[in-house]
């Protein structure tokens, strides 16, 4: 089941049908329905594995704090990703300031993993490693939009809402992000870049 499918199906079950009423949500409900997608989103957005639990905790602390203010006008999923996005930015910034450990160097260095993962990438795990390295080579703007669109499968208007950018910018930036991602994958695999 993908994130979009779950998000769209879980929402009507959790929210009352009457629009004006505040949605009845609690932390446990949100956790059960969305934990896995927040986890994936944070990882894809560049939160190091060593920081992942702390980042998750920060997200759910914000969720708990903000739940009473959640008015249901946006989808829960969009709201959650907006929180996760900001938490991920904080942790990326923290990781940049921290002295680089060997583990962090491996996480952030595409070349290192390219040596380990070169080949046909027949296995899912190899593809994942390669994809994560390619993701880490994108700049923050492209990475965020790529993750929200291609991994979390949010719609362009949702992304525009989360990132607070114009819709046209979403399309253009996403296109650039996909090209950059593909080029990086090809580079890591040692194959020539395909024509877009």
């Amino acid at each position: 089941m993908n994130a979009g499918a779950l998000g769209r199906r879980a929402l009507p079950r959790q929210l009352p049908s009457a629009e004006p009423q505040a949605p009845v949500l609690d932390l446990a409900t949100v956790y059960e329905a969305y934990f896995r997608y927040v986890w994936r989103c944070l990882r894809s957005l560049g939160v190091r594995d060593s920081h992942l639990e702390d980042a998750l905790q920060d997200v759910f602390i914000v969720v708990q704090r903000r739940l009473p203010e959640f008015d249901g006008r946006a989808a829960v999923r969009t709201w959650l990703y907006a929180i996760a996005l900001r938490v991920a930015r904080k942790y990326r910034e923290r990781a940049r300031r921290e002295p680089t450990s060997l583990e962090a160097a491996r996480e952030g260095d595409p070349e290192l993993s390219a040596e380990q993962t070169s080949g046909d990438c027949e296995h899912e795990s190899e593809r994942l490693v390669l994809a994560r390295r390619a993701l880490s080579s994108l700049d923050d703007d492209k990475r965020e939009i790529f993750v929200l669109a291609r991994v979390e499968q949010m719609s362009a208007p949702e992304i525009a809402n989360v990132l607070r950018i114009p819709l046209n910018t979403v399309y253009s930036r996403l296109r650039a992000a996909r090209l950059a991602f593909e080029a990086e994958i090809n580079r890591l695999r040692g194959t020539p870049r395909s024509t877009p």
């Binding site: 993908n2 994130a3 932390l27 446990a28 956790y31 934990f35 896995r36 997608y37 986890w39 994936r40 990882r43 894809s44 639990e53 702390d54 998750l56 905790q57 920060d58 759910f60 602390i61 969720v63 708990q64 704090r65 739940l67 990438c121 899912e124 593809r127 994942l128 390669l130 994809a131 994560r132 390619a134 993701l135 993750v147 669109a149 291609r150 991994v151 499968q153 949010m154 719609s155 362009a156 399309y171 996403l174 296109r175 996909r178 991602f181 593909e182 994958i185």
Partner: protein, 284 residues
């Protein structure tokens, strides 16, 4: 899919399939939910102690509360160990000053909240300490500082903790009268070494580290430092009222400061506030 060029690459599919296992979700559930609940409770409370707690950092508190029991045990030991040494290292009067220092400082309030989250079993002991805490060396006005009320008010913020002792949640009716009316009988009891140890739930590790490194002759400094927060609060209020043109509140705050801290650390500031009050009244 929502975009025109929708062809999925196997790499995007791999990223989408990168989800945590159910066991991972179950493993993190207690920690994350406990953290969220603790933070929400702290921020949802309206009392002063909760505000102090929130300024301390809701996430820090919630992370403390979400620690595993072995970690809590270790931190509790770290808190308790210096306390066990204090009765041996300090004479009784210095110990009383230490208690007053910890009680009347804002850091004490925060540390107590954290200590409640870490080791609720210690709380009843500290409540006992509150009720019996009256010493000849402690000026009466200090016993009525706002922190006396806020320390107890912080208790409800942690009542979601499963191991919270009922006695710790219940307000202690004897605390305020005992603090406001020192008696000779209560004094020696508060100075006894076992009572000294009972204050262990209040201070933070850093408080004890700092005190343990300072010689006993520096105990008066600790007490002076303890008045600084309250003095600052009073004079801040006075100057803010002056700026707002509220002379009545300003005069009341200055008078309160003069009454509570006649020789306080900020007496010059008090005189300045008084001078401004006088100037303003002449201007009118």
């Amino acid at each position: 899919m929502n975009f025109p060029d929708d062809d999925d690459s196997v790499f995007e599919q791999a990223l989408r399939a990168d989800l945590p296992s159910l066991s991972e979700q179950n493993r993190l559930r207690p920690r994350l939910l406990a953290a969220g609940v603790a933070a929400g409770t702290a921020l949802g409370s309206t009392n002063v102690a909760a505000a102090a707690q929130a300024s301390f950092g809701a996430s820090a508190l919630s992370k403390l509360s979400a620690l595993s029991w072995p970690a809590k045990l270790g931190l509790t030991a770290a808190l308790a160990a210096p306390v066990a040494v204090l009765p041996l290292a300090y004479p009784p009067v210095a110990g009383a000053d230490l208690v007053s220092h910890v009680r009347s400082s804002a850091a004490g309030v925060r540390a107590r909240s954290a200590a409640i989250a870490l080791h609720p079993v210690q709380l009843p002991m500290s409540e006992v300490s509150q009720s019996s805490r009256t010493t000849p060396s402690l000026p009466e006005p200090e016993a009525r500082l706002p922190t006396t009320g806020t320390a107890r008010a912080s208790v409800p913020t942690s009542n979601t903790l499963p191991a919270q002792a009922p006695a710790a949640i219940a307000p202690n009716p004897g605390a305020a009268p005992a603090a406001a009316a020192p008696t000779s009988a209560a004094g020696p009891a508060a100075l006894a070494p076992d009572k000294m140890g009972s204050g262990s739930a209040e201070p933070s590790v850093a408080d004890f580290d700092a005190l343990a490194q300072s010689p006993a002759s520096e105990a008066p400094n600790a007490r002076n430092a303890s008045t600084l927060a309250a003095e600052t609060q009073l004079l801040d209020r006075a100057f803010a009222a002056l700026a707002a043109g509220d002379r009545r509140t300003a005069a009341a705050s200055v008078a309160e400061h003069a009454r509570l801290f006649p020789n306080g650390l900020l007496r010059q500031e008090r005189e300045r506030a008084r001078a401004r009050l006088a100037t303003d009244s002449k201007g009118e």
